[in-house]
Symmetry: C2
Subunit: 262 residues, 2 copies
Amino acid sequence: MLCAPPDYAESHVADTDHPFAGLVSRLEANQTLSREDREALLHLPNKLRQLDPGTYIVREGDRPRACGVLISGFAYRQKVTGDGARQIIGLHVPGEALDFQNLFLEVSDHNVQMLTRGEIAEVPIEAFQKIALERPNVGRAILVTTLVEASVFREWVLNIGRRDSRSRLAHLLCEFALRLEAGGAARPDHGYELPMTQEQLADATGLTPVHVNRVLKMLEAEGLIVRNRRHISFPDWHRLRDVGDFNQRYLHVRDRATNGVF
Amino acid sequence: MLCAPPDYAESHVADTDHPFAGLVSRLEANQTLSREDREALLHLPNKLRQLDPGTYIVREGDRPRACGVLISGFAYRQKVTGDGARQIIGLHVPGEALDFQNLFLEVSDHNVQMLTRGEIAEVPIEAFQKIALERPNVGRAILVTTLVEASVFREWVLNIGRRDSRSRLAHLLCEFALRLEAGGAARPDHGYELPMTQEQLADATGLTPVHVNRVLKMLEAEGLIVRNRRHISFPDWHRLRDVGDFNQRYLHVRDRATNGVF
DNA sequence: CGCAGGATTGATTGCATTCAACGACCGTGG
DNA sequence: CCACGGTCGTTGAATGCAATCAATCCTGCG
């Protein structure tokens, strides 16, 4: 990031303060953007909204008029079976767009909800579509981002379908660590504030809250995690990665600096 | 082969016989294409190959040079855990491209394999990329197709994470029926030749082959399915759909003719 | 015929669920 | 300040669904 303008400096938009700075830098991780592309993204019309935990951003069956971009806090995707069992399908960290689906599909097939309190920017879908269609780089960045998301879904299918509860949870903790890191947060082995209740962890792993509790205690007893309230850290990141059968390839991060190190 | 110049009209390619006719009609289901778009697609350079069941089309870790389009037969996506458990992640029916991921991501994150004997057309990725980038409609069609695929992955996460074995299998059978139908095959309630062994069904549902066998017998005893060798039909499609908690919304089919009927 | 892959069945085991209760923490309001 | 209620986390006991282990059967095929 911080690609200084080639022509003249136009710093009336301070990149790091701008609500879309995170979005732009995430898109740039997947696809080179020109200065004009960046400017266009930063000038997307939007309305900022502060949302409480549990607030729905999209509901299954909706025809959304706006595409939300997560500015701060965390969000998750979720579907529910006919008899009310909930499955969390994906997590989102700040800087990620929550609704690329709905730019090009009419009816939403799942729910998106805030996990914590946080801020989102709502961009009218027409404006986002326009920039995606008129600016090849942006269109391609969106496509690549979508492809990476699909890869994450595939890994979740594997995780839930074929790993036991211990590996499943370890894997989820690893993924979250890496996703946070990719956004510029701390190194994965330094731990983080896990924004999920045990019930939500259960919904993300296809387990029950009770069992999640037991498995977390097991991981703790093994010295694989240390918990202090919601804060979680990893005394032996390497071993946790092994237990979780975690290989970051599916995240398609291109950052050479940390690629494969953790 | 088949790289005839695009300048003047060329109807020597009979649409319905052409190997890419299925691909084009599937893309058109998601996005309007101009005549030129169609022609460009039909003239993509490609090499036809007849493949036996189990043949790998892409391997995890590969950097594919070609994008496979399934002309006949069936294929599936698959990942394996560190200790060798396999999870089938998706199925493909004729006319579908198997590798949009690898047009824009460098390293494949999963395996793609033939399920049955069948034919694929290998298109050099540069040619496919070119058409995707230069023809907005084609690019958009690929994006939409990718978004629908992602939606299917999400439904699989739900299916495997939160439904019991009976619903899981019923759901899979329903999905396959609809996917076949979307390609122009028979109506879902008329049954089809299921191209999967019970072991593969197990890998697709996160179960064991033995349990799949028992559940199939259970479904049969309930009168929800009738089996004759690999042929399977559905005496009570509506009830099977209920048992499988199946709602086709996630497939994002736009065909008004059958939408919601089955 | 005999072999191999797939399907079927039975017996047993075990991981995760379910049911139920209790405990810890936090914000709120009297 | 403390009592209170609610959410979340923890623990125990019993249950159950699906896995595992182990044969056997079937069928197409060389």
